[in-house]
Symmetry: C2
Subunit: 187 residues, 2 copies
DNA sequence: TGATTTTCTTAAACTAGATTAATTTTTTTG
DNA sequence: CAAAAAAATTAATCTAGTTTAAGAAAATCA
């Protein structure tokens, strides 16, 4: 919970007292590795914040292969932003990569929270702006470089990450097969 | 300008009087086809809103090929969100695909605007949330389908768009070569 | 500790899509 | 309208990365 308080305060000023009230809008949840919090086919009305551990959001493609579209480690928010915004059914799953502690907030609570503390709009605007910028950067990588280069640049930039997460998840996140990733690493 | 007023009012309530004041933060700019408003290598401190026409944001990859990462038509915002947020140099260009009318706002003005009208945080949070959601959806498409399928699905979903924008721009946006796009269309 | 499950590796055959290069069609412009 | 520039097509060649299939290593669990 403390992580979240600190993260909030990077973007807006929140007093201890305010945070006391803010935290009543959330639930804390402990997840075991492989446990899921969001399932394809369900209505998406929840947003998740990672206190510790690691989650990933993935979907199952037409041939039955799981593809990770987003990882989230400490201090990251994760949800199907589109489905959440439009109150639609999602076709993504969110699953714990490691044992994790997360904050959970339903979208009606989130709306109430924002109404009660308008300055948190600034916080969420920043979060989404950063996430959107990162997504465009990722597009740029995918279009710019060969798969081999994408992997090496990714490992360069996020070494802790590559050590922490199973290789085959990294592979689908970067858009290559585990076999090919294994091959290019064997140099 | 009217387009912008209507777009704002889809997300927050803004009176005519308020809008009068809001509009003083913006500049209106007319662009000829092919004209650029953002250039790789420059500091990114501006955000753009398309009133009419069409822009695209692209970068030049290592081999000198231009790659579109984002289109923007009427009622879309466009900028390098990451560079804007961190006040960094951008490596994207923004160029008019057609003759266009756009709104321009510098980031210091944008900050001032948000300070003056806090409810606009809601507007921008929504904009970025939607854009982020769309970016993840696009990742999903790119990883799910063959390039051939990506094109046909894209054309299915945005037919006006495909008719309006040169094919070779669509091609780099979808991550395939103009030659291959031409080939798969020839069926 | 041994058994089971999960993750990673290796190698051969195959193909979607890139590359190259030349030509045609369409659009723009003076 | 003719000339130039921009956009689209075609076809042959080539390769980065996938697929398939099987085995090895590591991690988990009872």
């Amino acid at each position: 919970m403390n992580h979240f308080f600190q993260h909030l305060n990077k973007f807006v000023s929140v007093t201890d007292q305010e945070f006391q009230e803010i935290s009543t809008y959330f639930e804390v949840l402990s997840l075991d590795k492989k446990e899921c919090v969001m399932l394809a086919g369900n209505h998406c009305d929840t947003n998740y914040f990672v206190l510790s551990g690691c989650l990933h959001m993935f979907f199952t493609d037409e041939r039955g292969v799981d593809r990770t579209v987003q990882f989230a480690i400490e201090n990251w928010w994760l949800t199907d932003a589109q489905a959440l915004y439009h109150q639609k059914v999602t076709d993504f799953n969110i699953q714990a990569v490691e044992n994790s502690e997360i904050l959970v907030i339903k979208s009606d609570k989130e709306r109430a929270l924002l109404a009660r503390f308008p300055k948190l709009e600034i916080y969420f605007r920043s979060i989404y702006q950063i996430a959107y910028g990162a997504a465009l950067k990722r597009m740029q990588y995918i279009f710019s470089y060969s798969k081999e280069e994408i992997f090496f640049r990714f490992r360069e930039e996020f070494p802790e990450f590559v050590n922490r997460v199973p290789q085959y998840l990294i592979a689908t996140f970067l858009g290559l097969t585990p076999e090919y990733l294994s091959k290019i690493r064997a140099k």
